[in-house]
């Protein structure tokens, strides 16, 4: 379906373990249009991360179709998938996933290493984004010299460095306190509103989900709710 950033059709995923075959995604149909901000919620083990990994082209579905911008991902080869991850999708993880031995600046410019940017270009792009994240003075810091919130902002800067049109965030505030979580969510909201980047985010907290414009609820590998997010007052109350 052209015009839609994400479109999945009957997406199935099952794992084969010693205990036998366990289905995790049982036919997910989801369409996300350009500029949407979607929150996914659901109980633990309901398949949210599995779904996000497939959306991020980090994993493949057992059957079904996944279209990114109208392009069927299942027919792409490894290099085309790498290109997609590099240019089109920015992934933000719960555990930040920064390279521990690289400075904040080098971590942010990592995707540029694989898109053929020159070293000076890499430095200026990374510095720009760190400043946008309010981390201008931290560019030479190593990840373990920064707080969790700061590390997550570095990770967001890295996700943004190649100007993707889709940000996937799997529990980006899962390791952060409430105040820091709100800072991160403010950043994501701003990216969605002023840069019209499409965002899909997984969370367990209703107040985090209330930042989104649409809520999708997973239970046991199936979508059981697709509609309005929780009202904002949940957040004000917190």
């Amino acid at each position: 379906m052209p015009g839609h950033v994400i479109h999945t059709e009957h997406l199935f995923k099952q794992y084969e373990t010693a205990a036998g075959i366990s289905p995790v995604l049982k036919g997910i149909n989801l369409t996300v249009a350009r500029g949407e901000f979607v929150a996914i919620m659901g109980p633990s083990g309901s398949g949210k991360s599995t779904f996000m990994n497939i959306l991020g082209c980090l994993d493949t579905a057992t059957s079904g179709h996944y279209y990114v911008n109208g392009q069927d991902v299942t027919v792409l080869d490894r290099n085309q998938l790498a290109h997609l991850r590099n240019k089109f999708i920015g992934f933000v993880f719960q555990g930040y996933n920064l390279l521990p031995r690289l400075s904040a600046r080098d971590n942010v410019s990592l995707p540029l290493v694989y898109s053929g940017a020159s070293v000076p270009e890499m430095r200026t792009r990374a510095q720009e984004l760190l400043e946008k994240m309010g981390l201008g003075q931290f560019s030479d810091f190593l990840p373990n010299q920064m707080s969790g919130g700061q590390q997550q902002r570095v990770a967001i800067a890295r996700a943004l460095v190649n100007q993707p049109s889709l940000i996937l965030a799997d529990e980006p505030t899962g390791n952060l306190d409430t105040a820091t979580s709100y800072e991160i969510m403010d950043i994501l909201t701003k990216l969605n509103e002023s840069d019209s980047i499409t965002i899909v985010l997984v969370t367990h907290e209703p107040d985090i989900a209330s930042y989104a414009k649409r809520l999708v609820r997973f239970v046991d590998g199936q979508i059981v709710y697709d509609g309005a997010p929780p009202p904002r007052k949940a957040r004000e109350a917190a």
């Binding site: 082209c57 490894r78 290099n79 991850r85 590099n86 996933n97 694989y114 898109s115 070293v119 890499m122």
Partner: protein, 407 residues
């Protein structure tokens, strides 16, 4: 991915684990150092042998008094010399023989002024210089007429000159050999060491007749210790050997079933055998050293495998932000190649330094050729690629989600 940033990534990874990187390099250093050193020693030995062979003269036979048993041991040497200067003269008429020199030798004390020196004195003819391919560097060689009239003239080797004459020109001076005066008519060129390690320049040549009658009179009485003969060409060597045997058996009146009272030795074949032995030794040294290079290479593979396992998450993160399989492959290959090339560089320097030490401390000749350095460089790069490839490919083929989940 651009090369410059790749180097940076590789550098980051290697400097993160300095001790391990160094130890891996050490394996390569020792390997390459050993190869360079062993090749230098082996080629030094080869060079020396080749030098002595070319100083010996070509297509040479040495004919000695006394027969040979089946075991190759010479019998009844010295007791009754059977070869004569006339035997030598007769050999010159053989069509397969180009030049012949009889040799009557003994050691003698030499005196010049206040200096004295003990050396080997050879009585021979002017054709000795042809047979041995030896030139006179100053003065003139003695002549056939000197041989006929047994004059007391001498040609000096460079070692003798160095020990008897300080800065003087020896030509025209008179030295005393076994207390009799001899006129120095010329000085021989430098020859260097013989195959058995003797200093060939520590020698004096006099006419064979002078040696027989005046110098070692009681010992020789018309006989000579040995005869050197040169065949006309390398192809004529076999025929020359038969001709020499036939001629001497006939001249010595030996019947069909008596053993020869002389031995004809093909010096050129002996020299070839020595050269062959040296070449084999040189190759063995290189081969043994190569094993340590191989061990160094396996060390690289081992470390790279550990490194890939350890950095699985890092690889996962890189793949997640858009690294292609080729980027990951090149990153790890580059690391392996850098380790092996830096190790090789230091190893080559160590090898050259070691060769220099061996040369200085043990007085052994060493030859370091450009190709042995270039070779070890290429081998190091090849080892880096070969042993780095498997771990690198393992890293490149990781599935992103598996790599990211790896704990």
């Amino acid at each position: 991915m651009m090369f410059f940033s790749m180097q940076r990534q590789a550098w980051h990874a290697m400097s993160a684990n300095r001790l391990r990187t160094f130890l891996t390099m050490l394996g390569m250093m020792i390997g390459v150092g050993a190869v360079v050193l062993m090749l230098a020693i082996g080629q030094g030995a080869q060079y020396m042998v080749e030098q002595s062979i070319s100083s010996m003269g070509s297509n040479l036979f040495m004919i000695l008094s006394g027969g040979t048993t089946s075991g190759g041991v010479r019998t009844s040497t010295g007791a009754a010399p059977t070869l004569t200067a006339e035997d030598a003269q007769a050999m010159t008429d053989l069509p397969s023989i180009a030049a012949v020199a009889p040799m009557a030798s003994g050691s003698a004390q030499i005196i010049y002024g206040a200096n004295n020196w003990a050396t080997q004195v050879y009585g021979t003819t002017p054709s000795f210089l042809i047979v041995r391919d030896w030139n006179v560097s100053s003065g003139y060689p003695f002549t056939d007429s000197d041989v006929r009239s047994a004059t007391r003239v001498a040609l000096l080797g460079q070692t003798v000159v160095a020990n008897l004459f300080n800065d003087e020109d020896p030509v025209g001076k008179t030295i005393r050999i076994r207390n009799s005066p001899y006129l120095v008519v010329g000085v021989l060129d430098i020859k260097g060491q013989s195959l058995d390690g003797r200093d060939q320049d520590d020698t004096i040549l006099v006419p064979v007749t002078t040696a027989q009658r005046k110098l070692f009179g009681s010992q020789f009485r018309g006989s000579v210790r040995m005869i050197m003969a040169q065949a006309t060409s390398a192809q004529a060597m076999n025929k020359a050997e038969r001709d020499l045997n036939d001629l001497l058996r006939q001249r010595h009146h030996l019947s069909e079933n008596t053993e020869s009272d002389f031995t004809v030795r093909n010096l050129t074949a002996l020299a070839e055998a020595t050269a062959q032995t040296t070449r084999i030794m040189s190759m063995m040294l290189g081969a043994i050293a190569s094993i340590s290079l191989l061990v160094g290479g396996i060390g690289i593979m081992n470390i790279m495998l550990v490194s890939v396992t350890e950095r699985t998450r890092e690889i996962g993160i890189r793949i997640a932000v858009g690294a292609r399989a080729l980027d990951i492959l090149l990153q790890f290959l580059l690391e392996a190649v850098i380790i092996s090339i830096v190790g090789c560089l230091v190893g080559a320097i160590l090898g050259v330094g070691g060769a220099w030490l061996v040369n200085k401390l043990m007085d052994t000749p060493v030859v370091i050729t450009a190709w042995s350095i270039v070779m070890s460089f290429l081998v190091a790069a090849a080892i880096g690629i070969f042993f780095g490839f498997y771990p690198a490919r393992k890293a490149a083929n990781l599935k992103p989600i598996d790599a990211l989940r790896y704990q």
